[in-house]
């Protein structure tokens, strides 16, 4: 069966510091991968998605970036965090080629920027 991991689970960072959140998927090959952000009390916002190694699509311009160095690894980064970057970050995967397939979510990372 497939499993998706995210770490860290929680993170408190000062404004201006760098960020690196990691997501890995087990039990599948060539997954589509997604990063979402959920602000407190609000819905989900798609940040990035990837259909393959090195292929990143950005949905919302901001000071975040994403990378996919390996088939089942997806990284969300920032060089300098802003207060507005606080939120709950969720990684998700879906089957490659299943463009309308279900997205399955990881446990999330709760980021607080102070």
């Amino acid at each position: 069966s497939q499993t998706i991991h995210q770490w860290p689970a929680t993170l408190v960072q000062p404004v201006g510091s760098p960020l690196s959140l990691e997501c890995t998927v087990e039990g599948t090959s060539n997954p589509n991968l997604y990063w979402y952000r959920q602000a407190a009390g609000r819905g989900l916002q798609l940040l990035f998605y990837s259909v393959g190694i090195g292929q990143i699509s950005s949905e919302v311009p901001q000071n975040l970036s994403a990378s996919r160095p390996q088939d089942r690894q997806f990284i969300l980064s920032s060089k300098k965090l802003l207060l507005s970057d606080s939120g709950f970050y969720l990684c998700a995967w879906s089957r490659w080629g299943g463009s309308t397939d279900t997205q399955y979510f990881g446990p999330g990372t709760r980021l607080t920027v102070l």
Binding site: G43, L44, S99, D101, P107
Partner: protein, 113 residues
Amino acid sequence: AQKVTQAQTEISVVEKEDVTLDCVYETRDTTYYLFWYKQPPSGELVFLIRRNSFDEQNEISGRYSWNFQKSTSSFNFTITASQVVDSAVYFCALTITGNQFYFGTGTSLTVIP
């Protein structure tokens, strides 16, 4: 443009009551997919159901049931005999391409023992 509306922000029910969560969607595409996810306090989104636009059959899974009506662009979710463990935020979502999911703002359900 695609849009999902969950007009109910918060709902409270007493345990064992039935509750319906509303979802209204907008799209001009004839092929689309609808989803419901549950987000318990732990935060992880749990997939509940996927329905394509060509399948209007209602579905029942235990205490959960879904009513898909294209005529009213609605995909409502009913929990029968609610339990405390049903307390969560529930999201309805729509996709055309699969990569872009359009989520509603969620309905927070509290089941009171």
